[in-house]
């Protein structure tokens, strides 16, 4: 399916959301374009996951609107163009009897007409996708037997198996040790080389800022949305993360 590279893949327009009378998001607007690597950062309770859920149609905003590839999420049909890795996905039942291959098959077959069965071409696509994220040796293993980092890669593989235009990840480095995080972000970077937009939500400011092309700082409101260089020069960072924070940027 061809995607218009000039139109935003995700267009969030003046979104507000309240939960039991308490504001969670206030007047948030942002766009995600083809090839973007955007991190949405903010402290706990800043509305990051809520924003993602509104983008994906899992929640409805109290004000404003969202467009996915130009359509409202409630009428959106091309879900194979959207890949999603949920926040608590690694808290799966360790005894759930599915193999890594079956997990990817779920993603591949979800958009097909029923009855949907795996073909040889599908198996090859699954193998190629697992190779892309570096876990091709785990195809037949049960998902519950894998480490947190391996599971996360499998779920990313499931999200990209249909070659979507955009993949959205909610706190993807939960359960991944700091040594593996660099590799993880490098792997996400390679996805953008194929014009796939990557949006990830994280409170892990330090590591992610070195890898992404754009940042959005959220704490109910959007305090910043721009490139990493602009982010480093912007004093508005202090507001969403409370007084007393300093930004130190150095490389070895």
């Amino acid at each position: 399916m061809s995607i218009d590279s000039h139109s935003p893949l995700v267009d969030v327009r003046s979104i507000s959301f309240a939960w039991h009378g308490a504001d969670v998001l206030i007047d948030v607007s942002l766009e995600v374009h083809v090839g973007d690597f955007l991190a949405i950062i903010g402290p706990n309770g800043s509305g990051k996951s809520t924003l993602i859920k509104i983008m994906l149609g899992l929640l409805r905003p109290t004000k404003g609107e969202v467009r996915l590839l130009g359509e409202s999420p409630t009428r959106f049909q091309k879900w194979t163009q959207i890949g999603y890795v949920a926040q608590k996905v690694t808290h799966i039942d360790p005894f759930f009897p599915v193999s890594v291959q079956e997990v990817l098959a779920m993603g591949l077959l979800a958009g097909r007409r029923i009855p949907a069965f795996l073909t040889r071409a599908d198996s090859m696509a699954i193998d190629e996708t697992l190779e892309r994220v570096g876990v091709s040796h785990l195809t037949k293993r049960m998902i519950g037997e894998l480490s947190g980092g391996e599971q996360q890669r499998v779920f990313i593989a499931r999200a990209i198996v249909n070659n979507p235009a955009i993949i959205i990840l909610d706190e993807p480095t939960t359960g991944i040790d700091s040594g593996a995080r660099e590799q993880f972000y490098n792997m996400l970077n390679t996805l953008t080389d194929h014009n796939m937009a990557v949006v990830l939500v994280t409170h892990d400011i330090g590591v992610v800022t070195r890898h992404v092309k754009k940042l959005a700082c959220l704490n109910q409101r959007l305090y910043f949305h721009g490139t990493h260089e602009e982010f480093c020069q912007c004093d508005r960072l202090l507001y969403p993360f409370a007084v007393g924070n300093h930004l130190i940027d150095h490389t070895h």
């Binding site: 009897p97 979800a110 097909r112 029923i114």
Partner: protein, 267 residues
Amino acid sequence: MLDFLSYGFMQRALVAGIFVSVTCAVLGVFLVLKKDAMIGHGLSHVTFGGVALGLLLDVDPFYSALVVSVVSAVGILKLKERAGLHGDTGIGIVSSVGMAFGVLVASVAGNFNVDLFGYLFGSILAITSREVWVAVLLTGVVLSFVAFFYSRLLYVTFDPESAQVAGIKTKRINELLAVLTAMVVVVGMKIVGLLLVAALVVIPAAAALQVARTFWQAILISSVVAVCSLFFGLYLGFAWDWPVSGNIVMITSLFFLILFFVRQFRR
């Protein structure tokens, strides 16, 4: 050992029992993994109310139970959604109301205690040919549903939020699963009775999940456990005159214990 199958009533019991057991076993795998295992228990209580209503109105209790059970299944889902009730709370409410209604009706009517006994504890040996065909038809519907919607069912069971983002109509899938469970509970009440039908849904699946390494293995092992339990339950009922419904559930539990120890041994 197979002499007991020479009797027509045993043959009907076995055929109907196999179909119902397989249906319970297959649905049970999904329900146990979705952490909805208690819905079978809840619906069996509601079905009791439906049976009592049918006896009161002099209507075939099978049909009154079916209507009440299906409506309650959807009701449980709506309660969860709209009343913000978590986990088993909706099941607890609906099943208690259904059971209380049945007790009230039985008490007020006063003259169908014997009929109720059969529904509570099962009467597999009194299964009619019509009931055999109902069991066959129901199994066809359930297995067709599972076959057609397998990938979606698996996705919704494994990761409902991601399944929804993938475009799967998770609400509809959950409703269909609940309705089929309701139908299975009603048909299963003849086999093991309302008090024990939930065990047929839960225990074979739980047993299979001790050792299965793929989802298809889980479905297959659950079905084998259920059918073997039925067979030996019928046999013991014939040989030792023990109540068939109790036999079936105890044998199923024995299978669970065996597979539990197999899993421990594997570690």
